[in-house]
Amino acid sequence: MRFVGKVLGVFFLVFIIYVVFSGSVSAYDLITGVLVALATSVITANLVISNPSKLIQVWRLGWLLIYSIRYFFVDEVRAHLDVMRRILHPKMPINPGIVKVPYEVVSDYAMLTIANSITNTPGTVVVDVFPEEKAFYVHWINAVATESAEARKHVSEVFERFAKRIFD
């Protein structure tokens, strides 16, 4: 039963990607899409999903949608403007450094969401992750705080709040 849940989760993911990539919803695409999604999901279900019961909690998708909009239209824009200002400023006001940023989420996908959110915004890059310490090491273009709790407030607090709601 658990395995069937995992297969169904991967099935819908693969089917949607297949149809979107093919760019058409003709009978041919739908039939081949179902076959491909079925084969792929049976092969990779255990690799992709570990807890299928989270898949039926649809509010997680709602949070994912809200986070995507917020991330791409608020956080990304803010970070881009900040880095643009630093590049164009004649004095180039940067203060680079690597800081330790702890995280509290449990699941791997939540951790990945935070890490990719940090790396994808200009100015901060996750250099490495230490799951035993539950901490990222982040290269920061303007390290205003070196103490980890303070650094987390600047770098990843918003991302972590949403990641927890989506995946934990």
Partner: protein, 278 residues
Amino acid sequence: MRIKKLLVLGSLILLVLTFSLAFARGALGYYPLPLPRVRMLASWYLYTTLNPQYTNFTAMSPVAVAAIVWDYRGLDTLFETAVFFLAVVGALTLMRGVTLKSVLNNANNKDNNYGLSLISKTAARLLTPLIIAVSASIALHGHLTHGGGFQGGSAAAVAPLLVLVIFSVYFLLSRGISEKPMFMLWTAGLLGIYLTTLAAVFIGLLTGLNAYVFQNQPKFDAPVGLPAQISGTLISGSLFFLNIFEYLAVAGEFTLVFILLSMPEEVVKSFISGETYE
């Protein structure tokens, strides 16, 4: 250092200027660049590739490239597949008898001791099925859009390659993506290609009509052919099947080579020198 950079810059500028002059003066022939109008041969292919009125010449596929690769010049592609087959057989012969089974059973080689960070591993877990989905779409639409079996199969092999690099070869093998299943996938694909090239001949034998090896659409002296459409959906006869089987063959073939290449040198040497055998 500075002089070296200036020299490089100067030589690049000189190269561009020389080529521009050569093009402009016609030193590389009268038409060094592609002609603005389509050549005769190209226009012939474009005119017949999907043209039900020319039943003797059409391949019934809107993609002229796919039609040329698998129909007009199909034999060429078949022999390319054979050359690739022989190359991988050569690699397999070099690595004969070598297996990671003994190393796999060693507890130190279990999952988490190898590979990149947890971030890469988690991302790879999510990406693997998506890569397969995209590659399958490339292969299954080979007769409708650009792409095809070889391109799709190469893209599919990226999924195991990703797992191989980000986790480890032991992780891949312990999940059942090992030499034997890949060899079977590859063989199944080649067998499929072989049977597809003979499909028209089989139909001809059963119906008593004339037919050719590697025939796709019906010809004037060979009225059997593979269906261009199934209930209104264009599959372009043999192109659809050849793309699917080439996809399976290439995906299995590349994965097999990746697994062979990622075997640790000490293990391979211990097998080849005869110290270890299974």
